[in-house]
């Protein structure tokens, strides 16, 4: 945090009265709030850049925008020490395999921020044959930041939103987040590279599609568009 003084009033639950003169020394709050307060102010992002957005992410970490004001300057190169994966750039089919593996390797609680148009939904490259239409097709995303690339201010705003999200989470089994249950939660099946990228969760779908005896239709074929007619009008 940038201010050296710890302001306890940030934590204090206003429903429980504390005498005025003690407010700078005493705060009454729930364990969840205290825990989340600490957690949201010490998010360690993974040192993980994909494309153009990574440059803006680095600019955000640099002196002008200064991520360390939010307790996030400790970027870890290993997923084992990271809390947050900033997916900063176009996710390709070749890259989604390591991305899912990295996500699985991160310890819980873990968060994902989709930075920019490509990570959120494919962006300008969506139609490309090697592009995944958004990282959320494989890993759960907590915050989406629009922009191509988002400015450092936009990324900071997204990170502040993530802090707010963390502050609202509760400890306890059966709570809104998966990681306080018994045992580790299930990891995401790692995609496989075949004739195209393969999501192992689609096994049943593959069986059904294989029976149809045709290649997967393109959008034009699915919609019955006639490409030849379109080419003639050009």
């Amino acid at each position: 945090m940038s201010n050296d003084e710890l302001d306890l009033r940030e934590l204090h639950n206003p429903d429980i009265p504390v005498p005025e003169e003690m407010q700078s020394n005493v705060a009454i709050t729930s364990l969840s709030s205290l825990y989340n307060w600490g957690r949201s102010r010490s998010i360690w992002p993974m040192l993980f850049g994909l494309a153009c957005c990574a440059i803006e992410m680095i600019a955000t970490a640099a002196s002008r925008y200064d991520l360390s004001r939010f307790g996030m300057e400790v970027m870890r190169a290993t997923p084992r020490q990271s809390d947050l994966m900033i997916v900063s750039g176009t996710v390709t089919k070749k890259m989604i395999v390591p991305i899912v593996r990295l996500y699985n390797q991160m310890p819980e609680p873990k968060y994902v921020l989709a930075m920019g148009a490509c990570a959120s939904g494919g962006g300008p490259f969506k139609e490309g044959y090697n592009v995944v239409s958004g990282v959320d097709k494989y890993v759960p995303v907590d915050v989406y930041v629009p922009g191509c690339p988002p400015t450092p201010q936009a990324l900071l705003h997204g990170l502040i939103m993530l802090q707010k999200k963390i502050e609202q989470q509760h400890l306890g089994v059966g709570a809104s987040v998966p990681w306080y249950g018994a045992g580790p939660s299930e990891s995401i099946p790692v995609p496989v590279l075949g004739p195209d990228v393969i999501d192992p969760r689609h096994a049943e779908l593959f069986r059904r599609e294989a029976l149809k005896g045709r290649a997967t239709p393109t959008v034009a074929e699915a919609l019955g568009l006639n490409p030849e007619a379109a080419a003639e009008t050009k």
Partner: protein, 610 residues
């Protein structure tokens, strides 16, 4: 460098005529309208290419790419652009044609080692076989990928129509998402009958044993403990993005290195063929995303060449273009030096100094073009907008002194004070540092002849003592009337690459100081002399536009069939081709040095993988 040019007086077209005379049954002129150069019978390609290199002095194969002429003669064509380095002058364009069904063209790796990765790319994307290539494997996609996607009859999953704007979207406005019409809800296409139950994916062990590193990790008895295969990337803090290196070590010394790329292959060229001519401009920003203005300029030059007399670039537009290109060079080299230091272990602190200065330049870009990084600023026939009167924030506070400045004053401060000061600062802090000297001197040495043979470009080539810079060798824009020197260094090691970048920034400042009075003089003049339509049509033909981008020669090879979209849109990416030399430079060094050597090449993955 010892190549003796027999006919130094002959320029590229003279050489083309000479070749036709010398090889009458193998070489003929390319007589298609709008095309240049010669077409070589592919059976004789090796022999003729040898003559082109040795007898006519075109010793530098800059670009090699393929074109699929489906429906326009139904053949595949491989196009070569060769230069004379360091003499300069126009490139000799030669082509070889082959059948579409079993396309085969002999490999030129023996004549021009720089063809290595480019032939692999043509094999990957077009399925052209290059017999004689030492390691012909897919480079951007993975083994097992279905088909060769750049072929004209290959359709991607979200394929709607050949060309944009799509009928479904405009003018009807029937907007949908591609995944709504895919049975898997993803951007995927599988061949008929494909089923997971009878599919075995390639394992990592297979992948590694198929690499040219020659290590059998599956239990070869000769495999001693001394030899080790180390994988760096694609997630690695040193690799400047998603780049992967497979390194074979003997003890701690590198025996060989093979780069693995394609982790950011986002299909620029396929998308580029669907786009309108103009629609590709913002995509060029995202190639080398650290120097978008330079990318814009290269593409604009390529298309302007195609448009010919339809566009006339006003003088002020040229001045602004050079201003932007040189500022871009400074931002790029600042970044490169900062992150080279990062790779040497000085984590982030030197980079912070560099980024600080870079931010001031980005402020100017944002005020002028509307975006910090993705400027999309150049147009066919000029630039998008004149410089603003004042640089100010959108949400301006009352009496805001931070973001409300006179543009010319701001530029003047930047060019005469701030940038030179920060270059001097870097020089003072870094150049004499013992640590940098001990990590950089003699590391990653690239001799001049090897650099030329492997088509290295930009600071990498010039640090090997080759005074070759397209701004002088084949001038464009208003560079001929500007005073600057081509920076070279003799040793070709890491330290020299650092110094070349430092000195190039100084030369850029020198250019910018000459640009400032020109900006004042041309104030208020026109900045655009092209067509204002969004959907221009370019006359049929080919064109190769190139600029000296901060990372090296950036070339755009475009082919038009006379329509509103490129038939072929190829990017000769300096980062990609410079990587050909990585294995050579890394040999004999330690793993920690590889990271620095890679930083010294200064790659950016957006451009490497495209």
């Amino acid at each position: 460098m010892s190549d003796q040019v027999q006919n130094p007086v002959l320029d590229a077209s003279g050489v083309a005529d000479a070749l036709v005379q010398r090889f009458p049954d193998a070489v003929k002129k390319d007589t298609r309208k709008g095309y240049e150069g010669v077409i070589i019978d592919h059976h004789k390609l090796l022999e003729v290419a040898g003559a082109i290199r040795d007898d006519y002095g075109f010793n530098y194969l800059s670009s090699l790419t393929a074109v699929d002429y489906l429906g326009m003669g139904d053949h595949m064509e491989v196009v070569y652009h060769a230069f004379r380095v360091p003499t300069g002058g126009a490139p000799l364009v030669f082509k070889a044609q082959t059948d579409r069904v079993e396309p085969t063209i002999p490999s030129l790796v023996k004549v021009y080692p720089g063809a290595d990765f480019q032939e692999r790319e043509a094999y990957d994307l077009y399925g052209i076989y290059f017999p004689g290539h030492p390691n012909l494997k897919r480079i951007l996609l993975w083994d097992g990928f279905e088909g060769h996607p750049m072929r004209k009859d290959w359709k991607e999953a979200y394929y709607e129509q050949e060309h944009k704007p799509f009928d479904s979207r405009w003018p009807g406005g029937n907007v949908f998402r591609g995944e709504e019409h895919n049975p898997f809800g993803h951007n995927v296409r599988y061949p008929a009958g494909f089923n997971l139950d009878n599919f075995t994916p390639q394992t990592e062990a297979q992948f590694q044993s198929e690499m040219s590193l020659g290590v059998d990790i599956m239990g070869d008895p000769a495999f001693t403990n001394e030899r080790l295969l180390v994988n760096l990337g694609p997630h690695h803090p040193s690799t400047h993005g998603v780049f992967r290196m497979m390194v074979q070590l003997n003890g701690e010394t590198i025996e060989s290195l093979e780069p693995v790329m394609g982790y950011l292959h986002r299909n620029h060229e396929k998308i580029g063929e669907r786009n309108t001519w103009f629609g590709n401009m913002p995509f060029t920003d995202r190639l080398d995303y650290l120097s978008s203005m330079g990318n814009n300029l290269g593409y604009a030059l390529a298309v302007e060449k195609l448009l010919g007399s339809q566009v006339k670039i006003p003088y002020r537009a040229e001045v602004i273009r050079v201003l932007m290109a040189e500022l871009t060079r400074i931002t790029n080299h600042l970044w490169a030096i900062g992150f080279l230091l990062n790779d040497l272990g000085a984590f982030f602190t030197p980079a912070l100094y560099c980024i600080q200065t870079r931010e001031y330049i980005l402020d100017f870009f944002e005020a002028t073009a509307g975006s910090r990084m993705m400027c999309n600023y150049m147009r066919f026939g000029g630039v998008f907008k004149d410089l603003p009167e004042r640089i100010r924030a959108e949400a301006l506070l009352l009496n805001d002194k931070v973001r409300d400045m006179d543009t010319m004053q701001y530029l003047k401060d930047l060019i005469t004070e701030r940038i030179p000061r920060s270059i001097d600062e870097l020089d003072e802090y870094l150049s004499d540092s013992e640590i940098i000297a001990s990590r950089c001197i003699g590391v990653g040495v690239l001799p001049a002849d090897v650099a030329i043979a492997n088509s290295a470009a930009g600071p990498l080539l010039r640090a090997s003592g080759v005074p070759y810079d397209l701004r002088r060798a084949l001038p464009y824009s208003i560079y001929p009337e500007l005073e600057f020197d081509v920076v070279t260094r003799p040793n070709g090691d890491l330290l020299d690459r650092y110094f070349v970048r430092l000195d190039e920034m100084r030369e850029s400042v020198r250019i910018l100081k000459q640009i400032l009075p020109l900006l004042e003089k041309t104030k208020g003049e026109s900045i655009f002399g092209g067509k204002t339509s969004y959907s221009i049509k370019a006359p049929a033909g080919e064109s190769y536009g190139m600029v000296e981008n901060p990372k090296g020669e950036l070339g755009y090879y475009v082919v038009s069939d006379g329509g509103g979209n490129p038939w072929r849109y190829h990017v000769r990416a300096p980062s990609f081709i410079n990587l050909t030399t990585l294995g050579l430079m890394a040999k004999g060094h330690k793993v920690a040095d590889v990271v620095a050597i890679l930083g010294g090449i200064d790659i950016v993955l957006g451009e490497t993988d495209r």
